[in-house]
């Protein structure tokens, strides 16, 4: 899969916007959208939100997890914010669950097109990049040990589609090669 395709799938996620126009409910094949009333928040898919933002017809509200640190201890139990997520990711050896299966794509899209609606955009970018780097490093390690020890199968939890996509091609091709080499060796033995 191309990264562009993964991004396309990510654009189906819902995000809250505050429109400045009014429109009745529209019925599309994939579902209903709206109704839009100026000043009232409404949930729409990201592709529509970005388009409306570019045409200056709405204001984007960042998702709850897209924030730097915890506001208070009450929130701690329900959702974690990015600093916590990053720290936890660094502590654990395995992958921790991410707040959204498309956290990387959403961050990139929202920060590119709507950074004036998102407070502390630069810090968020850094934190998400840190988390991504940690996870991809873990993925590389595990892929490396997988190939080395010639395992037959492995199970990894809490990976997102984008991360799988980065190693996917390499991993499958490497394992193919290993298989070919293994089968070629056997008759000699």
């Amino acid at each position: 899969m191309e990264p562009a395709e993964v991004e396309f799938l990510a654009e189906k996620e819902l995000v809250t916007i505050v429109p400045n126009f009014s429109l009745d409910r529209i019925h599309l094949i994939g579902g209903d959208l709206g109704p839009f009333n100026p000043g009232l928040p409404v949930e729409v898919p990201v592709w529509l939100a970005i388009n409306l933002k570019q045409r200056q017809k709405c204001r984007l509200i960042p998702p709850e997890w897209m924030d730097v640190a915890l506001a208070g201890s009450l929130i701690r139990q329900t959702q974690e914010k990015l600093e916590e997520i990053r720290d936890q990711e660094r502590k654990e050896d395995t992958f921790t669950p991410m707040p959204s299966p498309y956290y990387m794509e959403l961050t990139k899209l929202l920060l590119n097109y709507a950074s004036d609606n998102i407070p502390k955009a630069d810090e968020i970018r850094t934190l998400v990049k840190d988390t991504w780097d940690t996870r991809v490093a873990k993925l590389r390690l595990s892929a490396d040990s997988f190939v080395r020890q010639q395992e037959a199968h492995a199970k990894l939890d809490n990976l997102t589609l984008m991360e799988i996509n980065t190693t996917g091609t390499f991993l499958t091709q490497a394992l193919d090669h290993m298989y070919k080499l293994r089968t070629n060796l056997q008759p000699a033995e």
């Binding site: 400045n20 570019q54 045409r55 200056q56 017809k57 920060l111 950074s115 004036d116 998102i118 407070p119 502390k120 955009a121 630069d122």
Partner: protein, 638 residues
């Protein structure tokens, strides 16, 4: 009451004429008076007592004009009468070649993109290109938008559009042609109402012509001879009275129109008008505000508006800037560093000083170079004294501004202002805005103006005319920083070339007084003369030259004279481009009479001239005709 009928309606469809007459009847009922904009006699400004003989002959304006009503066609509600009309149509944008027009075009393009309006953009640099573009596209478009062109001529006569074609004109050139003002149906002017327009009242310029017909019908029809004779006598008296009245009216009309159209000047920047439109629709962004600022600064850099108007407009923009950029940035909600921030600054008047070294900038800005007289050896010494007075070591001052010591840069503005006051430069600081985005991108509005103007008139690459225009247009977007930096380099070269040319002109006494005006002609072999074959560069050069000349000469009378500047334009075709600029005084009202003067002089000597530019004071003529043209001009103005 009919408006007009031409005496021989040959080829006219009589039904159409009748229909038209009836509809004009209906429209006539809804006429309203113009209000305070009645005739005011233009105050005789400086330099006009040098042109008394321009009062013979008047502007060529047809007395009787079809399709006119006594309603001024200024668009009162920009949104309803302009934007809502074109939002669902295909539009042709005709954009003139100056930075203000580019900025207005950018704002309009951004609005069009928001609403998915289909448009075609045609850059035009003169009347010929305008007409060609119009003829090419007139079958496909019904709505034309003119940006910084078209207000000061009779558009209907030049372009001859169909009945259903609409023109929207957003132009800062003044005076607006009376036909454009009083046309009800086809021409709509996007002009701020509080600009001092002084349009003559309708009744003083146009009149109904039913009297014409009655005269021709006054033939004797059968009756008794005695009665006939008496009636004839009465008729004759009546007719002579009417004729005298008409002659008086026509004389007054000529005078009024002459006063109105004598001087050229500039009104509010088109970019600011477009930004107003965006603001009314609540679609204004920081980007558009920045373009409006650049448009206004372009008018100031090119000396097109008075200081007072500039300060007033800066005040208006300042309110918008504080509205957009007031966010209190603290720990809780800090804006991304990539977001654009505009800041109001009371900055130095030195051109490009943040992208150059301070020394170069001092040498190449006309204000400092003229005040310190840097073309002479003494001037150079004064510059050294100036720098020493401020305590800036030469080594620091000659390196790139960004690499200067922080301790020197901190109070630079105040230090320079103090020292400048001692050396006679009282206006070294000016109110302006600067933009700041990313970690290393900080530009002042005048930097952008110089860069964009140089890109637009770039002579280095011999490409199609419009590629330079498009490149300059692109450089105004934040994403095209490489083009902007290229423009800055070109601007530095241009400023250096201008200063060197000015220095050589003054040192070799090339500026001669011809009586009513000063005259300077650039010879072909002059270095960088190709740079000055473009109108905006030549205008900039002339203004700087005049400033420097005024500082260098001791002749009090010469200080008040306007300047006519000539430079070779195309060597193969043997043409010369000539520019006339008003005199340089402290409180000049920037009104230029050379437009009309050039026209009259060209007529009287039948020189081969081309009045192609939207500014009437810029013409092209054949090199051979130059001397007789000048002689005619001298006799005209003395």
């Amino acid at each position: 009451m009919l408006l007009l009928l031409s005496p021989n309606p040959i080829g006219e469809n009589p039904e159409r004429v009748v229909q038209f007459a009836q509809s004009s009847l209906r429209r006539r009922d809804s006429r309203f008076s113009i209000g305070p904009r009645t005739v005011t006699s233009r105050p005789i400004g400086r330099g006009s007592d040098l042109a008394p003989s321009l009062s013979e002959g008047g502007p060529r304006l047809p007395l009787f004009r079809r399709r006119l009503v006594a309603a001024a066609m200024f668009v009162s509600d920009c949104r309803r009468e302009f934007y809502d009309v074109i939002v669902s149509q295909r539009v042709l944008l005709l954009v003139a070649s100056d930075v203000d027009a580019l900025c207005a075009c950018k704002i309009l393009q951004a609005l069009f993109q928001c609403d998915h309006v289909q448009y075609t953009l045609v850059p035009v640099s003169g009347w010929q290109e305008l007409e060609t573009a119009f003829l090419e596209h007139k079958d496909q478009f019904k709505y034309f938008v003119f940006i910084n062109c078209g207000a000061n001529v009779d558009l209907l006569e030049i372009l001859q559009p169909e009945e259903d074609v609409s023109f929207f004109v957003c132009d800062s050139h003044r005076p607006i042609h009376v036909v454009n003002v009083y046309n009800d149906t086809q021409i709509k002017l996007l002009v701020k109402q509080d600009d001092d327009l002084d349009v003559p009242a309708y009744d003083d310029i146009f009149r109904d012509e039913e009297d014409e017909e009655e005269d021709s019908e006054n033939e004797s029809d059968g009756s008794e001879p005695a009665e006939k004779r008496r009636r004839l006598q009465e008729d004759v008296i009546e007719r002579t009275m009417k004729r005298r009245q008409r002659r008086e009216w026509e004389a007054r009309r000529r005078e009024i129109l002459f006063d109105y159209e004598q001087y050229e000047y500039h009104g509010t920047s088109s970019a600011m008008v477009m930004f107003d439109l965006a603001w009314i629709m609540s679609k204004d962004l920081n980007d558009m505000l920045w373009w409006a600022i650049v448009g206004l600064t372009d008018q100031w850099v090119q000396d097109k508006i008075t200081q007072m108007k500039y300060v007033t407009d800066i005040g208006i923009l300042q309110r918008h800037v504080s509205r957009h950029n007031h966010r209190n940035e603290d720990e809780e909600n800090s804006l991304s560093i990539d977001c654009m921030r505009i800041a109001f600054e009371y900055d130095l008047r030195l051109a490009l000083y943040q992208h150059w070294s301070l020394y170069e900038s001092l040498c190449n800005t006309s204000y400092t170079s003229a005040s310190l007289k840097l073309w002479s050896v003494q001037g150079q010494k004064r510059l050294q004294e100036f720098l020493a007075d401020m305590g800036l070591p030469l080594k620091q001052v000659k390196q790139k501004f960004n690499s200067m010591d922080m301790s020197l840069k901190e109070n630079l503005r105040e230090m320079i202002e103090e020292s400048a006051n001692k050396f006679g430069m009282k206006d070294l600081r000016v109110q302006t805005f600067s933009i700041h985005f990313g970690f290393k991108n900080k530009f002042s509005a005048s930097d952008i103006v110089y860069a964009t103007a140089s890109l637009m008139e770039n002579i280095e690459k011999e490409g199609h005319e419009t590629t330079n225009f498009i490149k300059a247009l692109d450089s105004l977007s934040r994403g095209n920083l490489d083009k902007l930096h290229q423009g800055l380099d070109l601007a530095k070269k241009q400023l250096r070339a201008i200063q060197q040319t000015v220095a050589s002109c003054i040192c070799t006494n090339l500026v001669i007084s011809q009586g009513p005006f000063l005259y300077c002609c650039l010879m072909e072999g002059t270095p960088d003369v190709k740079l000055f074959s473009k109108p905006v560069s030549l205008c900039l050069l002339s203004k700087y030259l005049l400033k420097s000349f005024v500082c260098s000469t001791k002749n009090k009378r010469c200080k008040l004279l306007p300047l006519v500047m000539a430079a070779p334009m195309d060597v193969e075709q043997g043409t010369v481009i000539m520019v006339g600029i008003p005199p340089e005084t402290e409180s000049s009202d920037k009104k230029n009479f050379f437009g009309r003067a050039f026209e009259r002089a060209a007529d009287s000597t039948s020189s081969r001239t081309l009045h192609n530019h939207f500014d009437m004071s810029i013409i092209e003529l054949k090199t051979e005709d130059r001397s007789k043209f000048l002689d005619a001009l001298i006799s005209l103005l003395s």
